[in-house]
């Protein structure tokens, strides 16, 4: 599939157009994953390393709901793609439920503990969720039945997969949704909580509820991005497989580059990393002798390290005021 697109894009312009759209799509995917990290970090000051495991759980939920139980389809008529989206929504709601449980049991008792302890607790959760999800998903990948599958269309001479469009659209919807959410009363409360938890509490904001909302939203985004990252060009042919648990770690450079607590940063960081990865893969392909096969997967980390050395708190992250 990837090979075919690369060969078909023959002229320089087509290659460029193809690379741009591919970068946009990959960048959107990273941005989606990064947004989940950012929402959770903003509200609870926790880097959620279990995001990848939640993503895998989400894809497994989708596979169970849509394929095994045939859930909306067994009662509703209408087009299959609509069913798929309903199932996706259900799967992400289930994952949000997992997020709520995690927040209530493991995160809320830890409020006020050092940031490092909070991050490591999510590492422990990651091990647990991943083990259960691995066991559930099993060794053989499970089908997700993505409606557009591996279909493609042409722009000029460049062959574009529908998954690219879907990822870009999904990221657009998610970011507009979060942007609108921040305008609402709850959203303002969340921004206040992110700014200062105690002050927000003193103003009568239910900080615990904000935490729960952030974790639910973060887990939902994890499930959605997990499903989208399992689609053909990125994941293993639209299946829920064990690799899904590790995809989220590839979005960490985007999170860090943009700044841990900035939604705009997640978008910009995701797109920057996406562009860097795809363009390096496209235009440095002649140098694999020096760079090694698969070098483009390291590009995000290199970009992240350089970005961090220039701006230690990311491009849009809030700089910590250091005092003695």
């Amino acid at each position: 599939m990837i090979g075919a697109t690369m060969i078909l894009a023959t002229t320089g312009l087509d290659t460029f157009v193809h690379a741009v759209i591919k970068s946009l799509a990959l960048g959107s995917l990273y941005a989606l994953l990064a947004l989940g990290f950012v929402l959770i970090f903003k509200a609870t000051q926790t880097v959620n390393f279990s995001q990848g495991a939640l993503a895998l759980a989400g894809t497994w939920f989708l596979s169970m709901i849509f394929i095994d139980w045939n859930v909306p389809g067994r009662w509703l008529g209408g087009p299959t793609w609509l069913h798929w989206f309903v199932a996706l929504l259900l799967a992400s709601v289930l994952t949000a439920g997992v997020g709520l449980v995690i927040e209530r049991l493991a995160i809320r008792p830890m409020i006020g503990e050092p940031i490092f302890s909070m991050a490591v607790i999510t590492l422990g959760l990651e091990v647990m969720i991943r083990t259960i999800a691995f066991d559930a998903v099993n060794v053989t990948p499970r089908a997700l039945a993505v409606p557009w599958g591996t279909d493609t269309f042409m722009i000029g001479g460049a062959m574009i997969a529908w998954s690219y469009v879907a990822a870009i659209a999904m990221a657009g919807v998610a970011f507009i949704g979060v942007w609108l959410f921040f305008k609402t009363r709850t959203g303002v409360a969340m921004r206040a909580t992110a700014f200062d938890q105690e002050a927000a509490l003193a103003q009568g904001i239910n900080v615990g509820r904000i935490f729960a909302i952030a974790w639910a939203a973060g887990a939902m985004l994890a499930a959605i991005s997990g499903v989208f990252s399992s689609m053909p060009p990125w994941g293993p042919a639209g299946m829920a497989s064990r690799d899904g648990a590790f995809f989220a770690f590839r979005a960490l450079p985007a999170v860090i580059l943009g700044g841990l607590d900035s939604a705009v940063g997640a978008l910009v960081g995701g797109l920057l990393i996406g562009f860097a990865e795809i363009f390096a893969g496209q235009y440095l392909a002649g140098h694999t002798g020096v760079l090694g096969v698969g070098y483009q997967q390291v590009v995000p980390y290199v970009v992240m390290l350089i970005g961090l050395l220039v701006r230690p708190y990311g491009l849009f992250g809030t700089e910590e005021v250091r005092r003695v």
């Binding site: 066991d135 090694g292 992240m304």
Partner: protein
Amino acid sequence: MKSRPKLYTSYLAESQLFPTRTQKVLVVVAVVILVLMPFDLPVISQIPIVRFLGDNVWLRVVNRMLIFTIAALGLNILSGLAGQVSLGHAFFMGSGAYTAVLLGGKGSANLWGWGLPIWIWLPASGIVAAFVGIAVAPAAVRVRGLYLGIATLGLIFIGLHLSRVFPEIAGPGALGRKWPRMQFRLWKEEDPLVDFSRDGDWFWFEVTKNQKTYLLLLSLTIVAALVAANIARTRTGRAFSAIRERDVAAEIMGVPEFRYKTMAFAISSFYAGIAGALLAVLAGQVPPESWGLLLSIQFIAILLIGGIGRISGALMGTFFVVLSPRFIEEVIDWMKHQVDSGGLLSGIFDALISTGDKDGGLLAISETALGYPLPASALDELVYGLLIVVFLLFEPQGLYGIWVKTRNYWKGWPFSY
């Protein structure tokens, strides 16, 4: 003075490693027991834990544990003492391991290896890893906290990629290449002077290769622990603690931040490099993927479960984390045995374990079975993750904290204060 062990009249006396005579005696006794543990001696082999740890099969696990201890001590200096979050410990271990295989491994047409003896490659693996650490350290001065943690996470992926760029060092296949054996040679002579990788006779005793390796690793671990404990009470160690508590304040007080952060990375990576080389040598053949994130997480778990910033915490944490999967397996085996023999508790255990024929048990006995009856390997992982979470939630000071609480309880007994 002798009757008041907690009365210190000088700073020197207070900073002693083993302040009381009881502690000195206990340490000597512990070392003697540890040294004699694997040999089936009359009295010592009757001590409960020693009895089965000294068993030749378990000794392999114990050897692995000792190597993990060295690496955990290294991370403890960086994260516990100097307070720098690092998810890249596995990367430093890997760089040590590949230095060892480059210097000590057998070379061929498409593999580099110079076949040098252990007294070159073992220190060299530490030194090279230390230099890698020094190269990384400037990032720690610029980048702080969680950002540093994730930046060091990037190292792991860069390291994995490097192993693909240099198949001459890492080996071409997915299995990785063969590491040199644990043998002591003066130079490249045919017969090793001391061979830790084969059973044989030492003086008048028959010793297995596991026992030999155990003695070597035990001495290395004791040296590593003493050095680590000593670092903590020197000027350097105090500078590390100052940086951990607040780096800006430390700098204002005249602690050069850059120099000490670099030093912390160097020392920690030195430990990691040595441990990585030993781990690879013990395993014999290691794929590049094993120097991954999971290994790094394991060391963070060790520190947190044991109690961060404490030498004894690192020791207890390693003991717990490395041995607990084996304990779980043993317990499951024992439950299965009980069910088979129809013991007193067989009714309860039968509900817990499933012997494969879908009898409704929660745990599967066979390793390969996935799905609803949880395989034992998955249970290990699950318990391991659960332990990290539970310890952080309920006992942030880890096993060391539990020990301190128990000790204080009995000190004041029967009073509560």
